[in-house]
């Protein structure tokens, strides 16, 4: 496709923890509507890079441009409002709330009723609540989690929690979705389900997806572009077929024993 625009531009990002250069001059562009993956051995700096994008970490140098706007100076909640949502490697949900409440909580950035209106819950506030509930219900239907709508998230198995977290990210109606290892700790069937959901999300709303994943089988199957990191350095970038045959990548993944 020709008329693709760049939705996210990562420019010469440098991140240092004390003496450790976590990210070293990382640059790449993500096109609208692509599924983009960051891969690399443990400690390569993948999650750090994601954390830079929604500004949990503040890079020493470099820019992250999302739709023409530099994100490096914005607080995370403003970045969320701009349309960047994410999930975490270790799920970070409100474990004491139900699935439904977790998803509704994510809608707050789209809510406008003030405290007084919300307490009265009449007229506009009620209409707004219903509107958001509908969006959330559509996500519940989409992710096939209707049976756990009222279940407390803390009591759910891991695979379902991951799905709820994905649902919460979707509830933000993001333009760019950051997924940090969405399939860790899942069995084969759950992984296939998750891969299908990721493809469907991408297909349905042209949501751009940037994901970190260790399962190469999944990555090679579903993504459009891959960037490979090793010790904070970008060693390769390209479509799955190129990456599969790239010397540097094979060395980084297979050449040296890694601590798992």
């Amino acid at each position: 496709m020709t008329s693709r625009s760049t939705v996210l531009r990562v420019q010469e990002i440098n991140l240092v923890f004390g003496g450790i250069q976590a990210l070293n001059n990382i640059s790449f562009d993500v096109q609208t509507g692509d599924i983009y993956s960051i891969i690399g051995p443990n400690g390569a700096g993948k999650t750090s890079l994601l954390n830079c994008i929604n500004n949990f970490y503040h890079p020493e140098r470099g820019k992250i441009i999302f739709n023409g706007q530099n994100l490096t100076r914005l607080p995370p909640y403003k970045i969320a409002k701009l349309g960047v949502a994410r999930t975490f490697q270790n799920t970070a949900l409100y474990t004491g709330l139900s699935t439904l409440d977790n998803l509704m909580a994510a809608r707050h950035i789209h809510m406008h009723s003030g405290m007084l209106k919300s307490i009265l819950y009449w007229g506009p506030a009620q209409r707004e609540d219903l509107r958001h509930r509908k969006v959330v219900e559509e996500i519940i239907d989409f992710l096939e989690i209707a049976h756990i709508r009222k279940s407390i998230v803390g009591a759910l198995p891991h695979g379902l929690r991951k799905r709820v977290e994905l649902g919460r990210a979707l509830a933000l109606e993001p333009e760019l979705l950051l997924l940090d290892e969405p399939m860790t700790g899942m069995n084969q069937e759950e992984k296939e389900d998750m891969a299908r959901f990721i493809l469907d999300i991408n297909e349905r709303q042209e949501t751009t997806i940037l994901l970190i994943e260790h399962d190469m089988g999944v990555v090679m199957d579903i993504v459009d572009q891959i960037v490979v990191l090793d010790f904070g350095v970008k060693i390769a970038e390209g479509i799955p077929d190129e990456i599969r045959h790239n010397e540097a990548v094979i060395n980084a993944y297979l050449g040296k024993p890694e601590i798992q």
């Binding site: 219900e137 519940i140 239907d141 493809l199 469907d200 297909e203």
Partner: protein
């Protein structure tokens, strides 16, 4: 005016009767129950049918449907039948090769496939099912970017139909009225565990007769609620769901997703339910488990009132005596304290007809549900002849599967096979004359009997007792047939019996049993009744324990035909053990090995004497071997003289 003798005609009649006001169906969508009126159903079916005609559906064509319980499934089936076609249901968990077999074998020209998952399976087998002109889906999710011409959406077909209808307003009604009562309505493919699946051909007449005669003993109102969760490809859902719906106006509710059925039952509180025996057992187990987590007040109420419920149910259903005023009062308090809340948890507050089918249901489960006010009834049937027997009203017996449904005639063949005759008996297997000849045979009077392949017998009250498949039966010396599985299953319902092997066969004059006591339960019983014991061996040989088990064996004898009564049994000095190869890992008996190992005891039971000295080698888990020596007693329930 035409008689209402097909399913589509029943739809037209119901639409005329209820119109656009009354709710026909409901489905939970995005968390809200949405209603469809009879007018909605009528229009959905009409446009879909006309659309199919536009695409070339001919009378007698077969159309497959693969999908979960959705209004769209029912509409698709009715649309196919309105177009004088035959609907062929396929289970959603079928693998592509199984789907391929059924689609090719049934000569289907269209396939309804619910969603991406099913469409993917069909795309996989596309080259092998050349007769299929179109695949029609009704859930779009994930299919947005599929570019195949072969796949069409439900709405697109209906749009075609709607356009056609504008120029031909009476076409649909005329088409429906051309339907004949003897036309084939559905094919139900039987699950082939050993052979390839066979397609049972079922006519409109079969369905309508089956429905109407079941309604005589189990009526429905047009305000009744029903939750459709049994697989719609199965005959049972076609009768209890779709046909009942069309004939009585009963409201059919569709669950949000297969996983939400339990929640949805609670929301709907249906008047009629059919669960497998396994599911009823599960529900009872859930109560036991949750009881451990509940507050002490609930636990105490449960402890206080459950015995009341059991007592009242016992008086009412088993002794069949009037219940005393004091018990009634206590039961009434119990109703408020726990019975009603428990029923509410399961969505059983309004249930009139609670059925169990599949395997025999443990009497303990039946007693439990009776205690909380739900009288579970057994229902026995087949794809080929629908409901054979069922429990009617209060006439429920644990060990039976009920009495023949009105209009069903039942006969037991010489080899104990159950034969059925009546209006529900199917029209044969599609393209399988040989199997049809085997299943449908006429007697001297020319009456057609369906040979079920099941074995059983009728008791003195006319209740049918189901034993086993005919091919599992064993012939006794007297020529009588008996089913080891059945007798063993009945004995194992006793909490004191853990395992049992019955013996019989052509060389044996009567049935005997080797019984394993349940050490925990019998031990507890012994403590309560002041029976001292030391080890398993000691406990198993106590005369009091022999008396206890004798009661259970005699109870089972009371409903067995005299020729297969258990005459003698022994209580084994040790448990059957998988480590010793006596059981498989799934706890099935290794009969041949047991026959050899316990030959002494078996010989004694069929010979003289009533004590056997046993030296059994025991293999310990660490691999060592040891021996035990003990005397095992033979208990005689029916003596030689009595036998004469």
């Amino acid at each position: 005016m035409n008689e209402v003798d097909t399913l589509p005609k029943s739809l037209l009649a119901a639409y005329e009767r209820f119109g656009g006001q009354k709710t026909a169906m409901r489905q939970k969508d995005l968390g809200i129950w949405r209603s469809f009126t009879w007018k909605d159903s009528y229009e959905q079916v009409k446009y879909l049918c006309l659309g199919l005609i536009q695409l070339g559906l001919q009378p007698g064509d077969k159309v497959c449907i693969i999908g979960d319980n959705d209004p769209q499934y029912f509409w698709a089936q009715l649309a196919i039948q309105s177009g004088l076609g035959v609907a062929v249901g396929i289970f959603t968990d079928c693998a592509p090769n199984e789907i391929e077999y059924i689609v090719s074998h049934s000569d289907a020209v269209f396939v309804f496939a619910k969603d991406q998952e099913q469409c993917d399976k069909l795309l996989e087998i596309k080259d092998d099912v050349e007769k299929v002109k179109r695949v029609i889906y009704w859930e779009e999710k994930g299919l947005w970017n599929y570019q195949q011409q072969w796949l069409t959406s439900y709405q697109d077909i209906q749009k075609l139909g709607q356009e056609f209808d504008q120029g031909n307003p009476d076409f649909f009604e005329n088409l429906v009225n051309q339907g004949q009562v003897e036309d084939l309505a559905i094919f139900c493919y039987t699950s082939g565990t050993t052979a390839l699946p066979k397609g049972a051909m079922i006519s409109h007449s079969n369905l309508i007769v089956g429905c109407d005669q079941t309604l005589i003993v189990d009526s429905r109102e047009d305000t009744d609620e029903y939750l459709s969760f049994l697989p719609p490809a199965w005959i049972t859902e076609n009768i209890l769901g779709l046909t009942f719906h069309l004939r009585t106006g009963m409201i059919v509710n569709f669950p949000e997703a297969p996983e939400t059925v339990q929640d949805n039952i609670r929301e709907i509180t249906p008047q009629a339910l059919l669960f497998s025996a396994r599911l009823w057992e599960n529900m009872m187990a859930i109560v036991q488990v949750k009881l451990a987590d509940t507050s002490w007040i609930n636990r105490n109420l449960h402890q206080l009132f459950m015995p009341v419920g059991y007592k009242v149910a016992h008086l009412r259903y088993e002794v069949r005596k009037p219940v005393g005023i004091l018990w009634q009062l206590l039961n009434w308090i119990g109703e408020f304290a726990i019975f009603q809340p428990l029923r509410d948890k399961f969505g059983l507050t309004k249930v009139k007809s609670a059925y169990s089918s599949g395997a025999a249901l443990n009497p303990d489960v039946i007693r439990f549900f009776r205690a909380i006010g739900v009288n579970i009834k057994q229902l026995y049937g087949s794809t080929e002849a629908q409901v054979h027997t069922l429990h009617v009203g209060e006439d429920v017996k644990f060990e039976t599967v009920g009495v023949p449904a009105p209009g069903q005639e039942i006969k037991i063949a010489a080899d104990s096979e159950i034969l059925i005759s009546g209006g529900t008996v199917f029209q044969g297997y599609y393209k399988d004359l040989e199997a049809t000849k085997k299943a449908l045979r006429s007697d001297e009077q020319g009456k057609i009997w369906f040979h079920t392949g099941d074995a059983g017998y009728l008791d003195e009250d006319g209740h049918l007792i189901y034993m086993d498949r005919v091919k599992e039966l064993i012939t006794m010396e007297s020529g009588e047939h008996y089913s080891p599985q059945y007798i063993e299953g009945q004995l194992k319902f006793s909490p004191y019996i853990r395992d049992v092997m019955t013996l019989g066969g052509e060389t044996k004059p009567f049935v005997t049993a080797l019984i394993n006591i349940d050490f925990d339960n019998v031990g507890r019983w012994a403590e309560k009744h002041g029976v001292p014991y030391t080890t398993f061996v000691d406990l198993s040989q106590r005369p009091e324990v022999y008396d206890l088990i004798s009661q259970d064996v005699e109870r089972v004898n009371t409903y067995l035909p005299a020729a297969i009564h258990i005459h003698k049994f022994v209580l084994l000095h040790k448990e059957f053990d998988a480590d010793e190869g006596e059981l498989t890992r799934t706890r099935k008996l290794r009969r041949r090995l047991l026959n050899e190992r316990y030959a002494d005891m078996i010989d004694t039971m069929y010979g003289e004497g009533d004590v056997v000295k046993v030296r059994a080698t025991v293999k310990y888990r660490d691999g060592r071997e040891g021996t035990t020596e003990t005397n095992v007693r033979v208990a005689t329930l029916i003596t030689e003289e009595e036998r004469e």
